[in-house]
Symmetry: C2
Subunit: 212 residues, 2 copies
C-alpha cells in the first residue's frame, strides 16, 4: 500500500490527498509535524526521503516521489482511469497554468519556511500580499476557463490546487468573497467526496484543540 508523508495543514500534501481520494488509491497516512521541535521534516532521516525537507512524500512500492505537482502528474499517468486532466491539449494547458500560478506564484511565498524569515507581526501581510496577487490573476482566468470547476465541468488537477490555497487565503485574512468565480467553483468542489475526505480536519494529525 502507498504511504503518504503529510501534515494536515500543508497545502501541498493536501493537493495530493485530493488526487489519491479522487483516484481511489488507498494509502497509509504518516504525519510529519512541520512545527514541533523545529519541524520533523528537517530530520536527517526524513531528508533522505525528501531532500527539500518538505511534505508531501509518497512511497509506492520501492519508489519515492516528492514535489506535489510532479506527484499529481505521475498519478495521472499511472492511474488514468479517473482522469484529472482533460483530453484536449489546450484545456490541459489551462489546467497546468492554474496549477502553476498556485504552486509557483503563490504557495512558495507564503509557506512556513519563508514566513519564519520574518517577524511574526509581518508574516500575515507578507503572505496576504502574494495570495491576493495570485488570486486576482486566477479570478481573471476562471472568468473564461471555468464551468462548474476551474476548467469546464470536470474536476481537474487545478481544483486539487485551488481548494488548499483558499484555506490559506482565509488563514491570512484575504477576503476571498471579492473573487466571485473562485468562490463559486469552491462551493461546487467542497461538497465532493474526495475533497471532504482530504480536508485537514479529517486527517489523523488534525489537532483536537482546533476541533473545538
Amino acid at each position: 500500500m502507498a504511504i503518504l508523508y503529510s501534515y494536515f495543514r500543508s497545502s501541498c500534501a493536501w493537493r495530493v490527498r485530493i488526487a489519491l481520494e479522487f483516484k481511489e488509491i488507498e494509502y497509509e497516512y504518516k504525519a510529519v509535524h512541520l512545527v514541533k521541535g523545529g519541524g520533523q521534516q528537517n530530520s536527517d532521516d526524513y531528508k533522505i526521503i525528501n531532500p527539500m525537507a518538505q511534505v508531501p512524500s509518497l512511497i509506492m512500492g520501492d519508489k519515492v516521489f516528492t514535489q506535489s505537482i510532479a506527484i499529481l502528474e505521475y498519478l495521472e499517468e499511472s492511474y488514468p482511469l479517473k482522469p484529472l486532466l482533460p483530453k484536449d491539449v489546450v484545456k490541459r494547458f489551462k489546467v497546468r497554468e492554474i496549477c502553476e500560478i498556485i504552486a509557483s506564484g503563490i504557495q512558495p511565498l507564503q509557506n512556513l519556511s519563508v514566513l519564519k524569515q520574518f517577524e511574526e507581526s509581518k508574516q500575515k501581510d507578507w503572505a496576504a500580499k502574494w495570495i491576493f496577487k495570485g488570486l486576482t490573476a486566477l479570478e481573471k482566468i476562471l472568468e473564461t476557463s471555468s464551468g462548474n470547476y476551474c476548467v469546464g465541468d470536470d474536476v481537474t488537477l487545478a481544483d486539487c490546487c485551488l481548494i488548499p490555497q483558499l484555506y490559506n487565503a482565509r488563514r491570512f485574512d484575504v477576503d476571498v468573497e471579492q473573487f466571485p468565480n473562485i468562490v463559486r467553483v469552491e462551493k461546487n468542489l467542497e461538497v465532493l467526496d474526495p475533497f471532504v475526505k482530504a480536508h485537514p480536519n479529517r486527517q489523523p494529525d488534525f489537532p483536537l484543540e482546533l476541533a473545538a
Copy 2:
C-alpha cells in the same frame, strides 16, 4: 509564427526559449523590459495577456499561453517529434520533480518582484539562501538520476530549467562548484545548439553595456 514575450535575463522565459529552439519552433521575440519605468510587465496592456504580470507569454495562433512549466508541457504535447520527456513514467516523474524544485522551490523566492521587497543590501543573501537550499537538494537527486544530463542521457525539461537557474546562482554569488553533478551536467548542456541560442547574451534585448 509564434510570438514570445521575453526578457533576456528572465529564467522562466529562458526555459521556454530553450524548448522552442530544441523543438525548432520559429518565433518572433518581443522584449518586455522588467525594470525600465517600473517594469513593462505591469502595464495594463500586458496584463491582459499575462494577468500575473510576468514573462514569458507565448502567443500561438489565437491562443495565449503563460506560466513557463505549463508552456513546456504544452509544447511537449503539441510538438512531440523531438521529445523533452522520457517515455518511462517514473523517469517522466523524475524530470518533473527536478523542474518543480527549481520552478516552485527556488525561482519564486529569488525573482525580481520578491527581491524588490527587501533593501538592496539584503537582496543577495535572501536569494542565495534559497538557491543554495534548492541546489543542495538537486545535487542529491542528480547523484542517481543523471547521466550526461539531469535525467539519463537525453535532454529533458529538467535541463531547460537547470541552466537558467545556475546563471541566477552565479549572479547571487552561490558557489556552484560545490555541486559536482550539477556542474558536470551543465558543461554537457551549455555546448548544445538550443542552449547556446537561448542564452541571454544572444537575445535582441541583451544590453550592449553587458557585452563589454
